[in-house]
């Protein structure tokens, strides 16, 4: 009997320790402070063609991930794949079609400034005080008017007629013109902090971001805080790979660069031997802040990099032009680390690692060419 008791005690202790540690964890997540786009409008920068091209390239789209099987909510039947024999011409047409569809799937959610509250009084009529104890909400349901331009007004119990604020507008638009997937009541995963933190802990980032895209408008404070917390969590855990080749990688990169916290991402790129993408990231920073020491050089290099194919495709088949370009990239990144990096030693270490790895690749590809009878 006694031994059983003694056996039980430490187990209980372990349990309490585990629950405590999870409490501490959840406390730490609550301390992530969301930073919103509330002072300067990021939209002109985000939508400029250069930045869009850079962000799309940094997403590193992989078609097998873009067209992966996803949960089939909303689909009534799972379609079976069809296999066809195609001529080269037809195959090219199919690939072009697939690329077009991938571009559609990878379209990034917009990054815009937070909206201002609407407080526009249309008329005041104190003689109506006492008419009713509740508000009247009037919605113009004229056909063919867009949600953001719809007339929605309220008559308050004190007789004031005013334009509705964004939350009421959104609720009424959803009532009369429902959007598929959006709920009138906020889903519990966003309203309950514990559940939200559970999702973050389980790395369900894509799910959170997809749902936030449906549930909120991009200029809503709630959308910006949810995405901001998620991006910061990804940045802390360095799980960038989860978002790669999804539509959310671009906005995340933009967010991190805009709020001057792209050093972890830079480190991940250097450690993953993606030196060209690191240069693209510096170029992006130069576009957004203009504070990179060798900004012009980064821009020029980015222009040279963009037409080349993705780096990681054939690492052992380097041509001399590739080697030249990569060496230029290494120089550029060196200057960037000296001038702008906040994590100098780690970045330098990662760059050194890349150099050694790259030297091996160069030797390998030159040796291969020699063995095949090249010069």
């Amino acid at each position: 009997m006694m031994s059983v008791l003694i056996n039980k005690l430490p187990r209980n202790n372990i349990k309490t320790i585990i629950t405590r540690s999870s409490e501490i964890q959840s406390c730490r997540h609550l301390s992530i402070v969301p930073s919103l786009y509330d002072d300067k409008d990021p939209a002109p920068t985000f939508f400029s063609s250069q930045v869009q091209i850079l962000l799309k390239r940094l997403t590193r789209p992989d078609l097998s991930k873009v067209f992966r099987k996803r949960c089939n909510t909303g689909l009534f039947v799972l379609r079976t794949p069809t296999y066809k024999f195609l001529t080269d011409k037809e195959l090219e047409a199919e690939i072009a079609k697939a690329n077009e569809k991938a571009e559609q799937l990878l379209q990034m959610p917009p990054v815009v400034k937070m909206h201002q509250t609407i407080n526009e009084v249309l008329s005041e009529d104190p003689a109506l005080i006492g008419y009713d104890s509740c508000k009247y909400l009037f919605t113009d349901i004229t056909y063919g008017v867009k949600n953001e331009h719809r007339i929605i007004v309220e008559r308050d119990p004190d007789g004031v007629l005013r334009n509705c604020d964004h939350d009421i507008r959104k609720r009424l638009n959803q009532t009369y013109f429902p959007m598929n997937g959006r709920k009138i009541k906020e889903p519990i995963m966003f309203s309950d902090k514990d559940r939200f933190n559970d999702l973050l802990d389980n790395s369900k980032y894509e799910f959170i971001l997809d749902r936030a895209c449906i549930q909120y408008e991009p200029d809503e404070p709630k959308y910006q805080s949810v995405t901001s917390i998620t991006y910061q969590h990804i940045d802390l855990k360095k799980c960038y790979e989860i978002l790669r080749s999804t539509r959310h990688f671009g906005p995340m990169t933009f967010y991190l660069t805009w709020h001057q916290s792209m050093d972890n991402l830079m480190l991940e790129l250097l450690q993953g031997n993606a030196i060209r993408e690191a240069v693209l990231l510096t170029s992006l920073r130069q576009h957004i802040h203009g504070d990179v020491i060798n900004g012009g050089e980064a821009h020029n290099l980015a222009q040279q990099i963009l037409p080349t194919p993705k780096q990681s495709e054939k690492p052992e088949n380097l041509t001399e032009e590739d080697i030249q370009l990569d060496n230029k990239c290494v120089e550029c990144i060196e200057k960037f680390i000296v001038g702008n990096s906040a994590m100098k030693s780690q970045h330098e270490l990662a760059l050194q690692g890349f150099r050694e790895h790259y030297q091996q690749l160069i030797d390998l590809s030159r040796g291969l060419r020699k063995a095949h009878g090249g010069v």
Binding site: L128, I141, Y143, I151, L161
Partner: protein
């Protein structure tokens, strides 16, 4: 038998039209369509067109919801449709018409009854104090 929501009523060019509330809810749960119909037709008969809706029961946020298809309302007003008093009141509150006199009357009467209730309560409290 409730009429269909819109569009099946017979339409005569010259006959007088009226924009009115048509009750669509069930027992103890009123809900109204704002519809245009021939003036001589009963509310249970098919309407010409539905122009909006009005929910007289406050929702969970203490709001009454009104939907108005202003474009079509303007069209029917242009055709010379008569507007019934409750609809004119709603349109007045929405800021589309001038406020209907009956709204002012209701407000004034509500204020008056409230004032009387308050006075009555004060009097009762006073008598209670005196008896104690």
């Amino acid at each position: 038998m409730l009429p269909p929501a819109s569009g099946t009523g017979q339409y005569f060019e010259k006959a007088a039209k009226s924009i009115r509330l048509i009750r669509q809810g069930c027992t103890n749960r009123p809900f109204y369509h704002i519809s245009v119909t021939q003036r001589k037709r009963l509310n249970s008969q098919p309407v010409i067109e539905q122009l909006g809706s009005y929910d007289p029961m406050p929702n969970i946020n203490n709001e009454k919801l009104v939907a108005l298809n202003l474009e079509r309302i303007k069209f029917w007003l242009g055709k010379g449709a008569q507007v019934s008093t409750p609809v004119a009141e709603i349109l007045g509150l929405a800021g589309f018409f001038p406020i209907h006199p009956r709204s002012y009357m209701t407000a004034w009467r509500n204020r008056k009854t409230e004032r009387e209730n308050l006075a009555k309560q004060a009097e009762e409290a006073k008598t209670k104090e005196n008896t104690d």
